[in-house]
Subunit: 213 residues, 2 copies
């Protein structure tokens, strides 16, 4: 019982430190220090930082899988899509340290590479399923190849937006960054609206401008 709790505390604290300081800056000794446990006790639960990263990835994978699978199993109503993109982004933001240093982490934990690739495919499939159902309902119109291309770009956008914003602007708050990320996705979908695309684009701009003040 106590053992399980220590393991969970280690994961929770590691996640917070990795997200705040960047995973590369945080050592297991530091994690143990923050938790006020001995490095030996930490080692009893995790045989090094990579083991912590892999365990955190498993949590992230499980949560993101649940979120992403929902609309494939049961198509969303049109108004739900916007909220859905927020939920996906917030999930990614909760485990953002992976996304800031993907290459470095995948080099040190190569067993995560195929699992990360599968998550990427799931993002793309989910985007494609949502766009496809909106197309079938007549809301969106695509020329040949456009739907697949848009789904791939949305998956890439979800993967790299946080890093892009960090490179571009530095220290904006998470809420503004997520808002802009959702806005950028909705803007990419707007031109494919069958009717009223200009009105929708303007609605988006006004909505997100009011969000970020």
């Amino acid at each position: 019982m106590a053992k399980v709790k220590t393991r969970d505390r280690i994961l929770k604290t590691s996640l917070a430190l990795f997200n705040q300081e960047g995973e590369a800056q945080v050592s297991t000794v530091e994690i143990a220090g923050v938790l006020d446990i001995s490095p030996g006790n930490l080692y009893y639960h995790f045989k090094g930082k990579e083991a912590i990263i892999v365990a955190l990835f498993a949590e992230f994978e499980e949560e993101l899988r649940q979120v992403l699978s929902a609309p494939i199993q049961r198509p969303l109503q049109i108004d739900d899509n916007w909220v859905f993109v927020y939920i996906v982004f917030e999930e990614i933001n909760d485990f953002r340290f992976f996304y800031y240093n993907l290459t470095g982490i995948l080099e040190r934990c190569p067993e995560l590479r195929p699992r990360f690739a599968r998550l990427l495919r799931l993002k793309e499939e989910t985007a494609n399923a949502i766009l496809s159902s909106l197309e079938q309902e007549g809301y969106l119109t695509f020329a040949a190849g456009e739907r697949d291309g848009l789904a791939a770009r949305i998956a890439a956008h979800l993967t790299f937006w946080l890093q892009f914003e960090a490179l571009r602007q530095g220290d904006r708050g998470a809420r503004d960054v997520i808002n802009d990320g959702v806005y950028a996705i909705m803007m990419q979908i707007a031109p494919y609206f069958t009717d009223g695309k200009t009105a929708f684009a303007e609605l988006l701009r006004d909505y997100f401008a009011s969000q970020s003040r």
Copy 2:
């Protein structure tokens, strides 16, 4: 004279090794070994791997600046734009090791961070200038906010496409990856065509399908 040549050889070999193996996998001892010079001789020219990275960045910065500034100074004709995107992508591909491990490199060479952010802004400004001139000539039509959003997404796409493809598919050839990257940018512009957007989307799909076989 001989000194300059050794310095250039070190940079050229380092770039090739970084691109092939990933920068984190390559040590200065290995670079010296490939060049058949002593580690001391290498140290005489560069006081560590970070100094090599900074020197390579300066080269990249200079080349990319020249490429990106051209269309701001003299607007492109409509047919030149496509070729221009290829040129930018190939420039990035030549120095791709930066893009595979941006976070890691910027953590170890923090003086590159503002310089990289400036390059990012220049990509965005160039995209915006090109889109703006196509809009003024009547080729493209944007609702409020759409042009700025598209320019930012193109800058992000140029920055992360190589990494996205590496995560997604692993070992495709550079030519196919660049082709798909250019296609993805042109597809993003297609929906904003004032006339003939479907015909343009289909032309793009046929052209890029024939390129990648």
